[in-house]
Symmetry: C2
Subunit: 353 residues, 2 copies
């Protein structure tokens, strides 16, 4: 994209434009291309400024800012997490983000990120599984069939080659809806009546439940050798999904250890328990899966660099799709030091009109 | 303002709307009302979450996020500082901000803050002077006549009663422009050819230069007894304006000590040098000026709570003025857990059309 000719303008991708963009590109292509950008950024992990997210906690939830920079671009995401919201007809998680030019500090993109976060979380999970699951993985169990479940399914189809889904949720209507939404998308789908049933024969187990508490979605006896666990739902202090014994039997891969030790499944383990950084696998600095019998675990919490990749990808699509509007976000006086004069000129113009 | 009926919508105040809002309210009324909101928030200082700003530094400048919350509302500002920008026709500082509902995490306002920051900085300075300067202060020197200078002048007129200005800038054209912009606004204005000349007879000295380096805009002999110094320009590590000896003779008031010790004039002093918190004066917990001969210094760096106050004030003006647009920023599926279904329904609608 060329620089906007008007320095006051920032392109804005609304929710409606994001949906049209995903549909125009095709959701599986979108997930695949986004996964490639994430891999690209994870390969150059060491170039990034890494800060744990800045969280503002309240009784009802949390509001977080997640900034990062590669020295050329700067990105941040605003995201909230309020489990009680669904009861009031609101989303548990909403988000928006900004990408900026480090050289002059000007924002270059403002985008909705509620939908985009769902896509990047799924793409990230699939990237991890591509590097960690057994090469011939075909069957995935999804435990927790809420807002993230279909995105996970489609990302694993497009990027890992998953063709069979085994769904389970404590709320059967969630499973029903997930199965209905994914009908005709190329999956064999089995709706299950327990976690135990869902994990039978699964090469990959995705846990993506929403309870904000220490839960045991998976107990130790449910996880056989060779399985890859994609643990998505445990993502804040006090919220975990896996029994600790599973962690102790697994080879654990994480995004950014200082953050995952606070927010991920591994908050159940000692602060120095050995975990591996996923970026090193993607960059070829260390191996992924060690044997066909290893249990691999991606303890996903979501890191700022993934949002950065997502914003970078969306920005790359603006010119060809035109799916954005111009937002008058930045003051642009004719003479940069004359901000007040801009007000005076506006006043004169309004008086004429 | 009533809650928007569509949960996806966030009111957005563009640069153009902000200018119209300031002009509609009247800039002096705007500054006075904004100052009252700042005082209101400073009086309940202890209710706020206080975090130093989160800065991403680069060779060319800095990008910062400044969040805060009073437990009911959450606000943050994005702001950059790139001194070289003016050479390329861009603003050194641009900003935007968001105000959110702590209870559900949803943003309630997105606003430009380049103009708004200029206004809140000036209002904050005037609030400090109202509590610290001598009661009969009439004459203010402004050293540094860039983008912030007119806002300072107008705030001090409206809130402190300043009627005489003594302007100086190393660039005479800046002084000329400032004097021209303020002509007819009710000031007696003297353009000076040195800092020394500017401070003669001044009750208040405002320093608001832009150089990103240790500078000595004021030397010790230039500051007589009873003067109030409003030091605005020294606001990041390595950037100060006052000779250290002035600090040692002054009663120093700051916004948030942990931040000011890094960014303010007092970075020149020991880390435990005694300073006073301005909010305590505003809340009536401690006295302000001790005598007619005391030199008072407001070491201003700008704190997140001031931006919070500014966003709160702007939001209070939306309904009566209508000066905003609706932004489709938040995904709002009919069924909160069915984010993917929202995409499917969008697809069906596009196919029909």
């Amino acid at each position: 994209m060329t620089a906007p000719s008007n320095l006051n303008i920032v392109p804005f991708v609304s929710v409606d434009h994001m949906m049209r963009l995903v549909l125009k590109v095709g959701i599986e292509t979108f997930l695949t291309e986004l996964a490639a950008v994430i891999e690209d950024d994870f390969r150059r992990w060491e170039q990034f400024d890494k800060t744990p997210r800045i969280a503002s906690h309240s009784k009802e939830g949390v509001i977080e800012l997640m900034p990062t920079s590669d020295g050329t671009l700067y990105g941040f995401k605003y995201v909230n997490g309020h489990p009680k919201n669904t009861k009031e007809g609101r989303q548990t998680v909403t988000a928006f983000g900004v990408l900026s030019d480090v050289g002059n500090g000007y924002p270059m993109l403002l985008s909705e990120m509620t939908i985009l976060t769902a896509l990047r979380t799924a793409a990230m999970s699939a990237v991890a599984a591509k590097h960690l699951a057994r090469a011939n993985a075909k069957t995935m169990a999804i435990i927790g069939n809420g807002a993230q479940s279909e995105f996970q399914a489609l990302a694993f189809k497009a990027i890992v080659g998953i063709s069979e889904l085994r769904l389970y949720d404590i709320d059967p209507s969630a499973t029903e809806r997930c199965a209905r939404n994914l009908a005709g998308k190329g999956f064999a789908i089995k709706s299950c009546s327990s976690s135990q049933e869902a994990v039978e024969g699964a090469d990959i187990i995705t846990t993506v439940t929403a309870d904000k508490q220490y839960a045991t979605i998976l107990s130790d006896n449910m996880v056989g050798p060779g399985v890859h666990i994609n643990a998505v739902g445990g993502d804040c202090p006090g919220k975990t999904e896996l029994h600790k014994d599973i962690l102790l039997r697994s080879d654990i891969f994480v995004e950014y250890p200082p953050q995952t030790r606070i927010e991920g499944e591994i908050q159940q383990l000692d602060a120095d328990y050995p975990v591996k950084e996923l970026w090193e696998v993607i960059a070829g600095k260390r191996g992924g899966r060690q044997s066909e019998r290893t249990i691999t675990l991606f303890d996903s919490v979501g890191f700022a660099i993934e949002d950065f990749s997502a914003l970078r990808y969306v920005r790359s699509k603006l010119q060809e799709t035109g799916l954005y509007i111009d937002l008058d976000l930045l003051a642009d006086p004719d003479e940069p030091r004359d901000l007040y004069g801009m007000l005076l000129r506006c006043e004169a113009k309004l008086r004429e009109a």
